[in-house]
Amino acid sequence: MIFVGELSDIPVGESVRVQGSVAIAVFNVDGELFAIDDTCTHQDASLSDGWLEGCAVECPLHAACFDLRTGRPSGPPAKTPVRTHAVVFDGDHVYVDETVPVGTEVTAGLASGLVS
């Protein structure tokens, strides 16, 4: 488990980057938290710097859009999904669980539910 921070450290519409086995980006979409690998699968850009549009993030370099729930790109230039990770809460503490198999559709961590 990687400690991300207090829930209040990640405002709605914002993202933070944490270091797991690779860099991971955690997004707050209207109170639902999602975690994906931070590095775009197309080239070398940090998705936590990207633009949140609903439940997708647009890469800040070439504008590939990734669905935060599945990691799948909506079209070129990215061809490969990013890995998604489970977000887990312990009270107000937010963690990322990197152990969930790659490609699994992960349900969002809800600030109110899911206590590890």
Partner: protein
């Protein structure tokens, strides 16, 4: 519409084919491409591919999702003439392709120095160019880059990383001055010296020495820079000469409206070869930028199919990026004549290496462009902010 011929098998041509299929076109598509390679991505040619961190496989543009495109490829074949009103494309081997619609996506080619070139002198536009250049960039060699534009700067950066000694010769007093203006051109140009690459400004090239292989670059101030390898990065010219006599309006590229439509029905032009009206600037611009070549085709395909396709508004703002010495330069919008620059973050005068964000203002003080060095997040916000002008 049953038959489409696409001339040019690179980013813009492929993006048009994908867009036509996405938008429901089920007819025949023939794509003609002068290069023998399947479509590949050019930006890595001066960066990851040249530096040896990306393979030819990795820079391929087509993927498994393209299996259903159902295209007849004519690779290694050149279109030599177009009968515009009749929409007949003639190829170098005499084949004549008649179509209901013709897509021009022939891009641009690197400009060269006048006269014959000794061995060791390169331009960089194609995969074959990049293969040849890569084989020549051996550690310890002396490289002279002619032209401090984006491609020249990227080659210098990559070559320095490979362990070559690098000089750049730039005819203008300020590198990138036309695109970025004096202050910001100077700031971005400062990355060279900060990384041990010598930048010679305001000096022209008088000629190349060496036979059969290059040994030096003679400057017009009388100096000679020793060189084992030379890269000429002095801009690109649109591939449109073959369209002379086609009936198309040509002016530094194929003249089109905002949707890519030419003066002839059923003929569109996209990507680097298209000099298109841009809603953002309110005039015609030929953009030699990757994002334009990826996105303009969806609009042109819709126009051919008699439909509308709207891009997200921030995509209407001209955009490009460049990677140099581990720094990411991003620019969106344009630089207005008589405008000024306002630095929002960082200090470009201190060193571009620490990153900064600057806005380009028009003469009334309104932001019309944004430049970021290692500032992707605020850059993205400003790119969207600028889109509100359209």
């Amino acid at each position: 519409m049953r038959d489409v011929v696409v001339v040019g098998a690179s980013l813009a041509g492929l993006a048009t084919v994908r867009a036509l299929r996405d938008q429901g076109f089920e007819g025949r598509i023939v794509v003609v491409g002068e290069e023998k390679h399947a479509p590949y991505d050019r930006p890595p040619l001066s960066k990851e591919y040249l530096g040896g961190t990306a393979s030819e496989d990795e820079i391929g543009l087509t993927g498994p999702d393209d299996a259903g495109l159902d295209v007849e490829w004519r690779l290694g074949r050149t279109a030599t003439a177009l009968d515009g009103p009749g929409r007949v494309v003639t190829l170098d081997d005499g084949e004549r392709l008649t179509a209901d619609a013709v897509v021009l996506a022939t891009g641009a080619r690197a400009r060269t120095l006048p006269g014959g070139n000794p061995q060791g002198v390169h331009t960089l536009r194609t995969l074959d160019d990049a293969r040849a250049l890569r084989a020549d960039l051996l550690p310890g060699r002396r490289l002279v880059v002619v032209g401090a534009g984006f491609i020249g700067a990227e080659v210098a950066s990559t070559a320095a990383g490979l362990g070559l000694a690098v000089d750049i010769v730039e005819a203008a007093a300020v590198p990138l001055g036309r695109a970025l203006g004096p202050e910001m051109g100077t700031a971005c140009g400062s990355l060279h010296e900060a990384n041990g690459v010598r930048l010679h400004r305001a000096v022209g090239v008088a000629g190349l020495s060496g036979d059969p292989r290059v040994t030096g670059v003679r400057l017009d101030d009388g100096r000679e820079l020793p060189a084992d390898v030379v890269v000429v990065g002095i801009g690109a010219a649109p591939n449109v000469e073959w369209l002379d006599g086609s009936g198309l309006d040509l002016d530094d590229g194929v003249v089109t409206d905002a949707r890519g439509c030419t003066n002839l029905p059923g003929v569109v032009a996209v990507g680097d070869c298209a000099n298109s009206h841009r809603d953002y600037t309110g005039d015609r611009l030929r953009l030699e930028h990757w994002t334009n070549a990826l996105q303009q085709p969806a609009v042109a395909a819709a126009a051919l199919l008699g439909a509308e396709h709207a891009l997200p508004s921030h995509h209407a703002v001209p955009y490009f990026w460049s990677d140099q010495y581990g720094h990411r330069i991003q620019f969106a919008g344009h630089r207005a004549a008589g405008g000024s620059v306002r630095v929002e973050e960082g200090d470009p005068a201190a060193s571009a290496g620490a990153g900064f964000l600057a806005l380009f203002l028009d003469s009334s003080g309104a932001p019309v462009g944004v430049l970021g060095v290692d500032r992707p997040r605020p850059f993205g916000r400003w790119r969207r902010e600028l889109a509100k002008r359209v």
